[in-house]
Subunit: 359 residues, 2 copies
């Protein structure tokens, strides 16, 4: 499905800094996730925020995903433009402009959103009262992440009732984004909520969990029907640190050039926060240098990455170094295009179609 | 020079999250910087990485700047396309592709770059050996930032000699980006280097310092001829914290909508790291909420900003809050367009023409 490599090596093609995506690793990661979810008895609805590429969304669907997840309407619009017809937006949609876009989007794909308050549901109700298409609405549950979401299964039931009773809205189930490491506990929370809602006579089609950190540590749950992992397709240094994957499973790397080795033990590369971002995820350092285990990316400015190295051998100006970033999703958002590769070989540049979609 | 506001209030025009730029504040900041540099007897060469907008680069030039500073060739190309004809790229240019672009760029503007090693100078020498246009080269000096730059004035002299002796290259002077708070010490370092180079009989046209953090704390220096501030045009929370400006001097704010107030004391807005970035600059929290002094932006995910508030009054879903970010420059790089405003009134959307220029 995904394109093959040509005869050129990326080393001779790509200018730096650049984001490389190894499709061999991507294909392996997609397969592994699908197998795991098949084993858990849940469908996969990958979050496209990690790659923001229609090409890879289609590859995920071809491997068995039932649809995709997006965070913003703009991302969903780009994916609908690319022919993807089943989209869940896991975000409270607030404001008349966005609600108008949502109504138009529902006319061209099977669309669901989430809500965690009566206020959000009222907005959806206004927008879809006389709409051509209905919209699925899941209740977002705070199972420990302390972000959005209702705080108790009882509150989830209350909102489920409100959605069920609202013309134009279809109650579609419950969802959560679990705090990393709490995927199983979060699913028990959802079990309770789903039981309560079903006992009240309300059909609860989807019980949706997610998150790559817990994907391979999940067990079967009574109610869980769907899993929404995102980062698994690329993986990153934070997931290696969490034990969720190995370095060889990291499909996204940042190719950099050494531009200065001004002092013993210190070298500067041409990737800073404008590519790697400042995301630390509780770790120290801003990435892992693949070519040299003795290197630490100790600090970043916008266009400079400062690397300290332990060995006697200083990196030479012009040398290429690849960095596995702390957090792959945010790196995709920094660049207009990524470079698809397979091993040492170049495939092509691919525009990051859903980059920068903030509304 | 800069456009005036229309009759509409931005509150009724702009969808969130959005980056607002108040041109009234911008004009005041440009004027204040120019006056300070006039007083110090140095020319201004603003760094456009903060705004990435030809419109504001032209406003800086109209106010008296002698040219602009850019960090990457891509930024310089965008500015040259917009008719700006004096550009300094404060970055080691390494690699044949980039050197080719640099040579072509030198044909259409007065262009300078920096170098901190013989290796970088050799690359420039190859590229400009038979070029139509010469290029100015300044020696980058590490005066305490511990990033790029030669470590001693003696090394600076050595590279100045090498540049002077190389056909196609014009030795243009010395430059530094000082560690914040060390602007005056850095200028003394440059004084020493400039004296050494002049004593060797090499003309040293430009002695260039920079940085907004020290701009208003600078004193006159024997050799300093040029100052390259960037952030002063927008300012941000880090500069307020450093005492370099007041909150009322911050021209860039991020407009957000409250999307959830799920628990007492906690509210969620629709701006996360995809707009505000993870830059902390040693502070705690990710921004300052203008409308509510009791609010702290305690953490961000990609699309969520988590705010804790002390008062009894919970922000309401749909409410607009403006956030002064920790670091304005990186916020400009996250969005395809910013919204120009004057006070409460809307001017227009402006594409961030030099956004995402990483090479």
């Amino acid at each position: 499905m995904l394109p093959q490599a040509g005869p050129l090596r990326w080393r001779n093609v790509v200018d730096t800094p650049a984001v490389l995506i190894d499709l061999d690793v991507v294909e392996r990661n997609i397969r592994r996730c699908q197998e795991q979810c098949d084993k858990l008895g849940v469908t996969v609805r990958p979050h496209i925020k990690t790659h923001k590429l229609p090409l890879l969304a289609h590859a995920q669907l071809a491997a068995g995903a039932v649809g995709i997840t997006a965070q913003k309407i703009g991302e969903a619009e780009v994916m609908a433009d690319a022919g993807i017809d089943d989209i869940l937006i896991t975000y409270n949609i607030v404001g008349e402009r966005k609600l108008g876009r949502l109504r138009r989007l529902a006319d061209r794909c099977r669309l669901s959103v989430v809500a965690d308050s009566a206020s959000v549901i009222e907005g959806l109700a206004r927008a879809f009262a006389n709409a051509r298409s209905e919209i699925g609405v899941l209740v977002e549950c705070d199972t420990g992440m302390q972000r959005c979401g209702v705080l108790t299964p009882e509150e989830a039931l209350k909102l489920a009732r409100l959605i069920s009773d609202t013309p134009g809205l279809r109650f579609a189930g419950v969802m959560t984004y679990p705090a990393p490491g709490q995927g199983n506990a979060a699913s028990e929370w959802l079990d309770d909520a789903a039981r309560l809602i079903r006992e009240a006579g309300i059909e609860t089609q989807t019980v949706s969990g997610g998150g790559t950190p817990d994907l391979y540590a999940m067990k079967r749950h009574a109610s869980l029907t769907e899993y929404r992992p995102g980062s698994y397709i690329y993986n990153d240094r934070s997931l290696v640190a969490a034990g969720a994957c190995g370095v060889e499973d990291c499909a996204l790397t940042v190719l950099t050039t050494v531009i200065s080795s001004p002092a013993r033990g210190r070298t500067i590369v041409d990737a800073g926060t404008k590519v790697l971002t400042s995301d630390l995820f509780g770790m120290s350092g801003y990435g892992m240098v693949l070519e040299r285990a003795d290197c630490s990316v100790i600090s970043l400015n916008e266009e400079h990455g400062r690397i300290e190295y332990a060995s006697e051998q200083a990196p030479v100006v012009g040398e290429l170094l690849r960095i596995v970033p702390n957090h792959a999703c945010v790196v995709s958002n920094m660049v207009d295009s990524v470079h698809l590769v397979r091993g040492e070989y170049y495939v092509r540049a691919e525009p990051v179609a859903a980059r920068g979609q903030i509304t």
